[in-house]
Point group: C2
Chain length 433, copies 2
């Protein structure tokens, strides 16, 4: 099956990672891969041609840190401090969630992400087998894990139920759905885990050359309490325990110290920037410019919908481009180009998807089309700027992943939206009465 | 003509300014005013009944600081510092604009605002008679002015062309279109005006009990240069010259000092918070919590689309709720309720529209309906939080102003969108070649 997308404005990245814009471009797709990209038509026959006039085609977006089923908790505990929000409001609801609820929430999250131009996400939540199955069915990509926590200082790794679940998840799902589903490893955070468990998960991850997803220095309180307890920053603590010896990516990193940044650099650990969540919970503003200047790979995340309160990467693009400028009183700190790279190329690096994240011949056909025939998208003078500062997620008119159309002009092609809404309604009625 | 909007979730404010949510509410409209609001159906006959199930009805939004025709410059000079952006990129384009261009840009801006739930705005730009006429035709409300600048230290008020234009605008348009169009007075800023001109405009404003729109302490540079030049902060300088003796509202206020806040309080000057623009241009983060704590009236603005780059008040709601939390590392600083009040009730105060800004019997029927039947708006647990943290401007399904439907399900009822796009295209081709 070959499809030609013509007349669109195509935004991609060159070898150096700089934005390239092709006006009146041609994007050819053969099955799951891009077979042509340029400002002239390709040779050969195509089964189908789609006119993309008035649309910007760009790589599908990566949401590299979320807890997708938490869409079921959207709006719970808004405007409360983190502790009250988490333990007073979120945890009591989570305690009632069943695997069926997680499945319903996962599909709702996938619908939201697909409609908003996200093609891949890195998830951290319980009952992950339900999310993994939903992703496989939906046509999206995701890196999924079973977060490991351990509150008992005497718990041995071989007795950890969570580690067993993580191993089972890896064995069952890693690489499934033509590689669209990858299984990562996860230590929830320093403050929710013990040294022996961190060592054990890190070992398991290393044995399979895996990818480790953690929360790191999200708040000042967490950071300072760790220093008090261990005489080390969370990054130092994780480094000593071997958590960074394989691949790893760390969400938040709001309160990293300069030495911590060096640790991440030394071990090639990516940072996942979650601007909305960090602002909303009062955690602060991550020093993203420092990370970039030091050569770290920085990608974007929404965090869960209970602290955001959506999975809208266009909002994260927007915020990531704005907040460091405001904090540092410098309009040049973050540019539209740099945040677009975070949400695409850099996200694929985090997820170790070598043939994803940009539009180039031989790469996976993961892309979205954004409609510019709308007042707030007129005129279309500066394409990156329009996408980052003017667009809304709802401007996404088409989402394609692995060559397959998942969403087009408001219609879901792979998810039964009525059934999803029905299941979510049932869950919500039970949870909230 | 009487219309009953039933089954919607209605959000409004009580006498104390607190949010009130009515589930399964009834909103009755007779001509241009609200004649019923409650959780029970009204008595009497209605000509039409509209089912608003799945929608949140709330007061229409107020954009209290913008330069609406600048949508024609959307994306110009993105990611540059303010000086380079303004003088290197924006001014050379503005120099080519004709009144017909302003008209085309005004209609484009009105389309964007109406589709995004804005019912009224406070504008500051040249050829304002074209904008005023467009507003009158569109069914929206606006407070419009002719900004006065004066760079010649010897220019006498009686010779000022801008003052004459401002007077003519006031005489021709103030109160027109059933009071939907009001004419304000405007001194552009301290750094673009002389003392005698400020005094003269302030006098003219006072003579008609008018409303004065100014830029105030937007950047540190402006603020410090004023202190160097006059030995006074901009707020002190304006106070001495009588600019605050009548009603006034001041955009930005990023670098106000504590004494300046007292000046604004003393004269009942409203602050217009423009979070996106202040972040994008690297101006900083306004200390909004201080303004609120001191009892100032704070409303929201988008600023012009060249420094935003849209006129999307849902983004301003979102940012206003987030950025001070992040800066102060306190999740409780700004709440969803407080920013919704800024965008509605407080905006009507700025524009001195006594019977506008909330939904109550006898008030003007200015309201919008936001669709919650979308993945990112599900579940609808916390209405203010959903509007501020989850919604997009595109979720607006209905915009009603003065009892008249301006926009419904993607269709403009009062503006010829094809003609507008055609005129904008012509202008853009000429401006940018």
């Amino acid at each position: 099956m070959k499809t030609l997308y013509k007349n669109g404005t195509v935004l991609t990245f060159n070898e150096e990672g700089s934005v390239v814009v092709i006006r009146n471009g041609y994007l050819g797709v053969e099955n799951d891969r891009i077979c042509w990209l340029g400002d002239t038509p390709p040779e050969g026959d195509y089964d189908e041609t789609k006119d993309m006039a008035g649309k910007i085609i760009l790589p599908g977006l990566y949401n590299c840190h979320t807890h997708s089923p938490m869409v079921l908790l959207r709006g719970v505990g808004s405007d409360l401090p983190l502790d009250q929000w988490l333990f007073g409001e979120v945890c009591p609801i989570e305690d009632k969630l069943t695997p069926d609820d997680i499945e319903a929430g996962s599909y709702l999250a996938l619908m939201e992400m697909i409609a908003g131009g996200t093609v891949s996400f890195s998830d951290m939540y319980f009952s992950p087998e339900r999310t993994a199955t939903a992703v496989a069915n939906s046509g999206m990509r995701a890196n999924i894990n079973r977060p490991v926590q351990s509150f008992d200082p005497n718990e041995r790794p071989e007795d950890s139920v969570r580690i067993k679940e993580a191993q089972a998840l890896y064995e069952q799902f890693n690489g499934c759905a033509d590689g669209r589903v990858l299984i990562d490893w996860c230590i929830h955070a320093e403050y929710t885990c013990t040294e022996q468990i961190v060592r054990a998960v890190s070992d398991l991850c290393r044995q399979v050359n895996g990818n480790l997803h953690i929360h790191l220095s999200e708040t000042e309180k967490e950071h300072l309490q760790c220093k008090e307890k261990y005489g080390k920053t969370p990054a130092e603590w994780f480094e000593v325990l071997g958590a960074f010896d394989c691949g790893a990516f760390a969400a938040h990193c709001v309160t990293l110290e300069d030495g911590d940044i060096e640790i991440l650099k030394r071990h090639d650990v990516s940072v996942i920037h979650n601007p909305t969540s960090n602002l909303k919970l009062g955690s602060g503003i991550a020093p993203v410019q420092k990370f970039i200047d030091r050569g770290l790979n920085v990608a974007l995340g929404t965090d869960g919908a209970a602290s955001n309160n959506n999975l809208n990467l266009f909002e994260e693009l927007h915020l990531a481009a704005l907040i460091n400028n405001g904090e540092l009183r410098d309009a040049t700190v973050m540019t539209a180009d740099s945040v677009l790279k975070m949400a695409t190329v850099n996200g694929a690096v985090v997820q170790r998807r070598k043939d994803c994240g940009k539009l180039a011949v031989g790469y996976k056909a993961d892309f979205i089309a954004v409609d510019t025939d709308r007042p707030h998208m007129t005129p279309c003078l500066d394409v990156p700027s329009l996408l980052v500062y003017s667009a809304q997620a709802s401007d996404v008119a088409l989402t394609v992943c692995d060559g397959k159309v998942l969403y087009e002009n408001g219609e879901y092609k792979t998810i039964d939206s009525e059934k999803t809404y029905y299941n979510v309604r049932k869950t919500v009625e039970r949870l909230y009465g």
